[in-house]
């Protein structure tokens, strides 16, 4: 019961913090700009991609539809979302220390483990809301503005065309994997937040780690070959696997497993550090 109340407290604190709405506002603005650009001059962008196939394929119907628009938006924005997540979750613990509220919070009759877990859950709820909003803005708004149709995806193996009726469940799966990846970012920033009393440090460190891992992931150097499959950033792009045909189930399962292991490790480290921590702030 007290654990549920603590989760509620943490959600309320996030909901009433002005910074929490930056993420929602940023997604709204970014998606708005992309939708406007595609509505104004989307066909010329699409023609640029399809021109190379026009000698062998003929494209009919509404190519620039809501499904394609949503895919383009996700492709462009999924890299920025971790920053928006870390901005809120990175100070869930250290922000309390910086404000001094950690003293009052930790003299309440709730165990440190429960308190910390309630922060992880609240961070997860925030991440879910951000993902749902991104889904709404990209898929729903995309379909409202551009209509529906078959989805044409260009990936490393070539052009994949997915029928309209075959797309929605793929988006659902893609968003679920994206949520798990972003929840891992949230776990990473909360974990870093347990090590410091500075509210900005964990946010900057989370972004630096993601940037570093992204660079390692994209560098075609053999020395990183064994590390690359274990990096969080490698699996942040796994949502795209849902738009391949046939579906690479093993790859998706592998990504989910690695992200779950990341979460278990990060949460365990956080609990250990937080329970050992002397509150001197």
């Amino acid at each position: 019961m007290i654990f549920l109340r603590s989760i509620y407290n943490e959600v309320i604190k996030i909901a009433l913090k002005p910074r929490s709405y930056l993420g929602i506002a940023a997604i709204t603005a970014l998606v708005g700009v992309i939708l406007f650009a595609l509505k104004s001059d989307g066909m010329s962008i699409i023609s640029f991609v399809t021109s190379s196939f026009e000698q062998t394929l003929s494209f009919e119907g509404n190519v620039l539809n809501g499904n394609l628009v949503a895919f383009i938006i996700l492709q462009m924005l999924i890299v920025q979302i971790p920053l928006l997540i870390a901005l809120v979750t990175g100070d869930l613990v250290s922000g309390e220390a910086a404000m001094g509220t950690i003293r009052m919070l930790l003299t309440q009759p709730i165990s440190r483990t429960q308190l910390l877990l309630s922060k992880f859950i609240a961070g997860g709820i925030y991440t879910l809301i951000v993902i749902i909003w991104l889904g709404f803005m990209s898929v729903i708004m995309g379909k409202l503005l551009f209509g529906s149709g078959d989805l044409m995806v260009l990936n490393s193996d070539g052009l994949v065309i997915l029928q309209e009726a075959d797309v929605n469940w793929r988006y659902l799966g893609g968003f679920l994997v994206a949520f798990l990846a972003l929840f891992t970012v949230s776990s990473l920033s909360i974990c870093l937040s347990c090590f410091t009393d500075n509210s900005i440090g964990p946010i900057v460190t989370t972004m630096s780690i993601i940037l570093l891992f992204t660079i390692i992931g994209t560098l075609d150097v053999h020395v990183f070959d064994s590390v690359r499959p274990l990096l969080l950033t490698t699996h942040m792009a796994s949502w795209r696997s849902f738009f391949e045909d046939p579906l690479p189930i093993l790859d998706i399962k592998n990504s989910i497993l690695i992200l779950l292991i990341h979460n278990v490790l990060l949460i365990s480290i956080s609990i250990y550090v937080f329970n050992k921590k002397d509150i001197t702030a």
Partner: protein, 303 residues
């Protein structure tokens, strides 16, 4: 004999090489208003944090309500209210919302009416919806006290509760503590640099210095071992000194200014001193006993 509410035995805590607390022991009885004294850096704050499980001591034991804080943390904290150093709340939330959040984790979380009543009780009636960021230091202290009392704790730990308060606020808090003791039989630990406040409010105390508990006991009993320092303002200081030297040759006399001097003397001898000076034809403009605890504290800390 009163029941022991808190029993701290030989706690020690190091931060790196720095020994913040070396050997602190004391006990607090049911219904005590217990003064917690010590100069800056003496280890008071670390000791209080150890009591409330914010810091884990390296050694020693802490029992509150007969249970160890290390094994019964939640049960103990459910019966304890505290302000440590200064009350910090969420700046972006209102006074009401802050109290609501901090009270929700107690088993019997208070209703909206109870929160409003408590805010009114500490003098923040009408400011319920104002954000904490706009509060003055005194208002923050009052909100801290409201948070401390909201769940009706048996043990109240107040670390410098009157800092930043105006004179009326200080009197209000002092009266509140006395009411908590006399009417509700609460046990209060009061850490303060205001020695007059401790002397007026507390029945027992401990003095901590350099991480060690120096002295502990009943305030009155400890004070009665000590001479009073009496300041006299007289018509003829030199003549007064001669009279005092004759009547009290062992007592220390200190010049203060042209008309004033101080003498260290037993309380029972003050009337005798007064009589001798009047009989010698010396006009006495004022006779004032200086705060004893201040001197006692300085003596203990410098010992």
């Amino acid at each position: 004999m009163s029941e022991k509410i808190i029993e701290i035995k030989s706690i020690a805590k190091k931060f790196g090489l720095f020994e913040a607390v070396k050997d602190v022991s004391f006990h607090v009885n049911q219904g005590d208003v217990f003064g917690f004294l010590g100069p800056n850096g003496a280890g008071k704050s670390t000791t209080i944090r150890c009591m409330l499980s914010l810091i884990k001591p390296d050694s020693g034991s802490i029992e509150i309500f007969g249970k160890s804080i290390f094994t019964h943390r939640n049960d103990i904290l459910a019966r304890t209210g505290s302000i440590i150093e200064k009350p910090d709340f969420y700046k972006y939330l209102s006074a009401y919302r802050n109290l609501e959040i901090f009270s929700r984790l107690f088993r019997l979380s208070p209703s909206k009416q109870e929160i409003y009543k408590m805010l009114d009780f500490v003098g923040l009636g009408g400011r319920e919806k104002d954000k904490f960021s706009g509060f003055s230091h005194g208002m923050k202290q009052r909100l801290g006290i409201a948070q401390t009392l909201l769940h009706n704790p048996d043990l109240i730990v107040l670390d410098e509760p009157t800092t930043g308060l105006d004179p009326q606020g200080i009197i209000d808090i002092r009266n509140l503590i006395l009411r908590l003791k006399n009417e509700q039989h609460k046990t209060v630990i009061l850490s303060s640099h205001n020695l007059a406040e401790i002397e007026i409010i507390c029945n027992r105390m401990v003095i901590i210095n350099k991480g060690v508990s120096v002295v502990e006991g009943e305030v009155n009993a400890l004070m009665n071992h000590e001479d009073l320092v009496v300041r006299l303002e007289v018509s003829d200081k030199e003549k007064a000194k001669s009279v005092i030297r004759l009547s009290f040759p062992q007592n220390k006399i200190t010049d203060i200014n042209e008309f004033s001097l101080e003498i260290s003397i037993e309380k029972s001898m003050i009337s005798e001193l007064n009589k001798d000076l009047v009989n010698a034809g010396i006009g006495i403009y004022s006779i004032e006993a200086k705060r004893k605890l201040e001197d006692y504290f300085i003596k203990m800390v410098n010992a």
